[in-house]
């Protein structure tokens, strides 16, 4: 299983039936393909849709119906459409149960950086700052390291997306929960040792006596 598959399969296990979920563009989008059997959630697309469904059958694309990345999607039975103010009212107002976002860096205090690399990549924050500041639960789905360098750091070196602490970071190496006490190692990927995860992490991890193996 490649890193991305491990990450999105593990994130999918976090979704609870009947909740409202927003998946960020890129890797997080793929979480939708790995929902556990019997779990049905409502996907919000911040461009104004609640009840987003998969890619439409060939020839059934509607130019007025895309996801937040601009790709054609469907609206499921019971979907609702609305303007951008309502869409972010749902996000900011505590109505969005979970957001899953990609990350460039997360620091010791659980602060995420994922929207720009000064002098290099300035795509803009889109809805990411609202999602991280507003969602009830923030899950970061990212690779544990970039070119061998840790992405879970003592302090983010990149500009922050929000000062709000994310709740969970899922990588191909580990599951880490961020609480007031700090980042706690909750699971380790199959075949890895705790020491290997700690070595690939700059932030100081809280390591409980028992750390289960990720079941993906």
């Amino acid at each position: 299983m490649d890193a991305q598959t491990i990450i999105v399969k593990r994130v999918a296990q976090e979704l609870r039936p009947g909740t409202l979920v927003n998946l960020g563009i890129g890797m997080p989008t793929k979480v939708a393909n790995h929902l556990p059997a019997g779990v049905s959630v409502f996907f919000q697309s911040e461009n104004g849709l609640l009840g987003m469904g998969p890619v439409p059958p060939d020839g059934m694309e509607d130019p007025d119906l895309t996801d937040a990345g601009g790709s054609f999607v469907t609206a499921l039975s019971g979907a609702a459409a609305f303007d951008s103010a309502m869409s972010f009212g749902l996000i900011r107002g505590g109505h969005l149960d979970v957001t899953v976002l990609g990350g460039l860096q997360v620091d010791q205090r659980g602060r995420l950086a994922n929207w720009m690399i000064p002098g290099k990549m300035i795509p803009g924050m889109g809805g990411a700052m609202d999602l991280v500041s507003g969602a009830k639960r923030v899950i970061v789905a990212m690779t544990h390291t970039a070119k061998g360098a840790p992405k879970i750091l003592r302090e983010c070196t990149l500009p922050l997306t929000s000062i709000r602490r994310v709740d969970l970071v899922v990588t191909e190496m580990a599951v880490i929960a961020f609480t007031e006490a700090g980042p706690e190692l909750r699971e380790v990927a199959p075949g890895l040792t705790i020491a290997e995860v700690v070595a690939a992490t700059e932030a100081e991890l809280i390591v409980p006596a028992e750390v289960p193996v990720m079941a993906v």
């Binding site: 130019p63 601009g70 459409a81 303007d83 720009m116 924050m125």
Partner: protein, 216 residues
């Protein structure tokens, strides 16, 4: 009557004007107004929109033509030409979190002096803004945005210029229809009064200044 030819309508927009343009990566943007702005060689425009779409699509056409001097958007990640012009110093890009942008446009149209949000607090977005405490919590004060013109794309307009939108093509369109001095509407269909029932009207016709002719 508010009906007007595309060419005559776009001729009313002077160089240097500020334009709100509905749409989300081109979905819900009037392509023919973009084309005509380019054809008439407009220069120095400011565009307020969710994004600058892609090269050759929606607002991307204005970027390609060098018609813009400034954009206020939530992201430019889908348009490398925008990034290029920004780095070259030909285009000022003001990045605003998407939910905050929606509320700032709404505040402009709804006669509010501003809104308070957690989004952006403690990030680069905070620069130059006031912090306000409410109930022991800190928020950023975000100010209203208005424009000289709004380019609104609708699914239907009736003879009273009441508007209805379609799915994710709605996005910023109804908000912008409230927040500009002159509101220009491009509707896919023009329908008899009553086709859009009172409860389905999202933009009352009194807000519309010009409705583009469908015919030649």
């Amino acid at each position: 009557m508010k009906g007007i030819k595309l060419e005559d309508c776009v001729a009313k927009i002077p160089d240097g004007a500020s334009l709100m343009v509905g749409g989300f990566i081109g979905v819900g943007t009037s392509e023919r107004v973009m084309d005509e702005l380019v054809r008439q060689g407009k220069r120095g425009l400011t565009v307020i929109a969710n994004d600058t779409a892609r090269p050759g699509i929606g607002i991307g056409k204005l970027i390609d033509a060098g018609a813009l001097s400034r954009v206020i958007v939530s992201h430019i990640g889908t348009n490398p030409n925008t990034q290029r012009q920004m780095i070259a110093g030909d285009l000022i890009v003001e990045l605003v979190p998407q939910g905050t942008l929606a509320e700032r446009v709404r505040a402009g149209g709804f006669g509010l002096g501003g809104i308070l949000t957690r989004t952006g607090l403690g990030t680069a977005v905070e620069e130059g803004k006031n912090r306000i405490e409410v109930g022991g919590e800190t928020f950023l004060l975000e100010t209203p945005i208005r424009a000289d013109f709004a380019i609104v794309h609708a699914k239907q307009a009736d003879y009273a210029c009441n508007l209805a939108y379609s799915l994710t093509a709605q996005n910023f369109n109804p908000l912008m229809a409230m927040a500009a001095d002159i509101v220009i509407v491009d509707a896919e269909d023009i329908v008899p009064i009553g086709v859009i029932p009172p409860d389905s009207v999202r933009t009352p016709g009194v807000l519309v200044d010009h409705l583009l002719n469908r015919g030649a």
